[in-house]
Amino acid sequence: MAQDTAANNLRYLEAFPKTAIESIWVKRPDTSEYFRNVISFNQVKVYPVERSVTATELCIADLLKEEGYKIEEKDLAGITEFMLANPQLIQELKNAPEVIKSYFQNSDLKLKLYTDTEEEYCNLNILILNNYSVEEAFAIEEELFNKHFKDVYLKHKGKLNIREVSAN
């Protein structure tokens, strides 16, 4: 039945010329969900369900971006789910950029969810993108970990980690 409805919707869509595709996030009326690539035609909007993201996801993404983290769009849903399951990490993520930047000047911070292929567990990595030499970068990371991040690592059982990586 659902398949029939979807097929009908598709035929309906194909019958009209597309007038616009809104690539910004658009809130669907009467719901709390946001959608991308909303297709508008003849004053009717179609919200592609498979690309939906909840308002919560947007809030978390905005919060983390405001703190200076880069997040790849493909990682957004996974990071949001992880943060909802581990809200105690939010404060740590808010505190970390200032400390990290005092060690790694001119670095960028990127959040990356590590999903273990073999043992099915997840950690959130703060990747520190830098241009230091291999030796320098490791020495700085080691000092940063020992002086500031060790307690965070132990307190949260490794769920939040820092890892310096090459910027290029």
Binding site: D116, T117, F145, N146, Y153, G158, N161, R163, V165, S166
Partner: protein, 116 residues
């Protein structure tokens, strides 16, 4: 006579000297399993269920090492590198990536040998 896992690390080091992506990836893989097994045996760890993650967590609480938290973090980092080398065909595993792996492995090895 049990196998000496240091031989895996030695083989990994040799492979890391080759300017060939397959050798760099294989070197990371051998190196990781070398240090993993040395630490696993040293901690007396035998579980077959999520053995890598379990060892990483056990190391964090292992008081026999001077710096158990750092050793735990290093093994986590090395494991992530090893999985990227073994499974991610898109990621560029070059000499720089390999060097970042090996500097961490040598540090973990030192923390291990200092506490034998």
């Amino acid at each position: 006579m049990p196998f000496d896992w240091n031989e895996y690390i030695k083989l990994g080091r040799e492979l890391s000297q080759e300017n060939d992506p397959a050798c760099l990836r294989a070197g990371i893989s051998r190196g990781y399993y070398g240090i993993y097994n040395l630490l696993r045996i040293n901690v007396g760890h035998t579980t077959k269920y999520k053995p890598h993650k379990d060892l990483i967590e056990k190391l964090a609480a292992a008081e026999k090492y001077d710096d158990q938290a750092q050793l735990s973090k290093l093994l986590e980092d090395l494991k992530q590198n090893r999985e990227e080398a073994d499974y991610d065909g898109i990621l560029n595993i070059d000499q720089r990536y390999s060097s970042k792996f090996w500097i961490r492995l040598e540090r973990a090895l030192k923390l291990y040998t200092d506490n034998l």
